[in-house]
């Protein structure tokens, strides 16, 4: 007898379960997302295993070998204006980039989501204050805020993380708040409230897990911005200080040698570009999973 007629509840349930588990597999079916994932993996490995992977120390300068071009003996990508190996500096440069990108986003998430969650759930005067504060933070252009912050409190990696984290806060607050407001109206939440479940339990067991998707999407949107921001601040001299190898600082120095050695400027920027691109590709892939309508 043809399966076509009678809907089989058992089969339908199994199909639903399977599709829940194989979102991982679905991600792999999209070439852009796979490329993004691969790129992110490469950068992460470079950052973690830098000491093992790079041929030289990133700060070992040698005045005999200044500005060697690419494919020179011993230096695949040449050396910079202080004789340091470019390849090694590129590999080590992944560290501050990832650190800042992930930490700043993490900071914004960990601080912003609870604020938005509580604000959206309880509404009222507290909510209005939160929204106005977010408006104020947003009134200052993201990067100028970070520049100002880093300038006032001194240039360092930690300050860059904090500055970028603060700049990324409103994004997470808004998402968490919007989700909280929407989820609050759902029947199962209303039921929980009416049966006297404690607020804290509602917030953390019912609302938070259901927000995971949009919050993850926001994170994937924030990381690339944080990476670009940290590179920018490093370029301006407001981030990690020399001699630490950072793609941004490499660019600053390279700008003075555009005539003689253009590759010195092209390579670090390319690294930033590719890293950001891969995070964006990965983010797009994840977003497609959660909201395929947008593709």
């Amino acid at each position: 007898m043809s399966l076509a007629i009678v809907p089989d509840p058992e089969a339908m349930l199994k199909a639903a379960e399977r599709s829940g588990r194989d979102w991982w597999r679905r991600l792999f079916h999209r070439p852009p997302a796979v490329i993004g994932l691969a790129g992110v993996a490469v950068v992460t490995i470079a950052a973690i295993f830098a000491p093992l992977l790079s041929p030289y120390s990133p700060v070992a300068s040698s005045f005999q070998h200044i500005l060697a071009p690419s494919f020179s003996p011993g230096h695949l990508l040449g050396t910079d204006e202080l004789g340091r190996d470019v390849l090694s500096r590129l590999i080590y440069g992944a560290q501050p980039t990832l650190e800042v990108g992930l930490l700043a986003t993490g900071l914004a998430l960990v601080v912003g989501v609870p604020i938005g969650l509580v604000s959206g759930y309880y509404r009222g005067a507290g909510d209005m204050i939160v929204m106005r504060v977010a408006d104020v933070v947003l009134a200052f252009p993201f990067l100028l805020l970070a520049i100002g912050f880093a300038a006032i409190f001194g240039p360092s990696l930690r300050n860059v993380v904090v500055a970028l984290g603060i700049g990324s806060l409103p994004g997470f607050v808004r998402i968490a708040r919007a989700e909280a407001m929407a989820l609050r109206e759902q029947d199962y939440v209303q039921a929980a409230i009416v049966t006297g479940v404690r607020d804290r339990v509602i917030l953390f067991r019912h609302l938070l897990p259901n927000m995971a998707g949009p919050i993850l999407v926001q994170a994937t949107l924030t990381i690339p911005g944080a990476i670009l921001g940290s590179a920018l601040l490093a370029y301006l001299g407001l981030g990690e200080q020399p001699p630490t190898a950072s793609w941004g600082t490499m660019l600053t120095a390279a700008q003075d040698h555009l005539f003689n050695d253009p590759w010195l400027a092209i390579l670090p920027g390319l690294a930033i570009f590719i890293t950001t691109l891969c995070f964006n590709l990965l983010g797009d892939g994840l977003r497609d999973l959660f909201d395929p309508a947008l593709s």
């Binding site: 504060v133 408006d135 990067l143």
Partner: protein, 319 residues
Amino acid sequence: MRAYVVRRLGQSIFTLVVASVLVFLGVRAVPGNPATALTGNADLSPAAIAAINRQYGLNQPVPVQYADWLRQVLTGHLGASPVTGLSITAELANAFPITIELTILSMLIGILIGVPSGIFAAVRRGKVADYVGNAVALFGLSIPSFWFGIVLILIFAVKLHVLPASSYVSFLSSPGSNLSHMVMPAFVLGTGVAAVLMRQMRSGMLEALRTDYVRTARAKGLPEPSVVLKHALRNSLVTVATVIGLQIGVLLSGVAVTETVFGLSGIGSLTINAVFQRDYPTIQAVALITAAAVIAINFAMDFVYAFLSPRVQVEGAAQ
């Protein structure tokens, strides 16, 4: 409509006031002595500090200082920069036209490239043009603007000698030269805006093309261009307007860096120099002006938003 405008105006003013307080306190938050901050001089004898305190009224309670400062700002007295000795108002007046021109040109490039390509990608969804468009947009989003600028300088100024690498010529004195100086920086910033706009436009159009009212438009026998450009587009413009508003804030950040890369002495590079030289009075003035500009632009965008979407005034009340 009027109630909406009044409410938004109130919110904007409130935000502006809070921002001004933050700017004011920000300078006071700098570690060390306010007198040091204001004069930029770290080596001050106690007598000198006392004199400066008296001159700037630093002995008075903070709220009073704030009120004084606010009054001065509103009457146009922004003080003098301790670093350059020049009137801040004069410096700003010189820098403004450059930044404004750059911002407008970048916005134009962004809209002219981003909007049509977004519409095109939505209409050609799933086909080659769509994928190519998406790829290009993604590139535009991921590229570090300062690096892009450097690369462009490398190609067009250093290697090809077609465009100047830096500095600025006023439009009034020489339009051609002015534009040749502005082309690269505006393009750098414009492509960032275009990338965001293209994606937003595409997703907005895709959504609009799926709606019931577009189906009704087709059922009425309307030609496809009318369906796409009149019915669907009109409804996606709302989201796009919001994005443009947000992008202006982003653009102002980008302006700062681009001006530095291309050696343009606009507000952006003025800010960065001030930051590096610990020129706090200038930082204060610029921060306030920038915040005011962003708030004002957002308010204007809300206006446009309300005009494009008649529903927002009704639903806005429920916010």
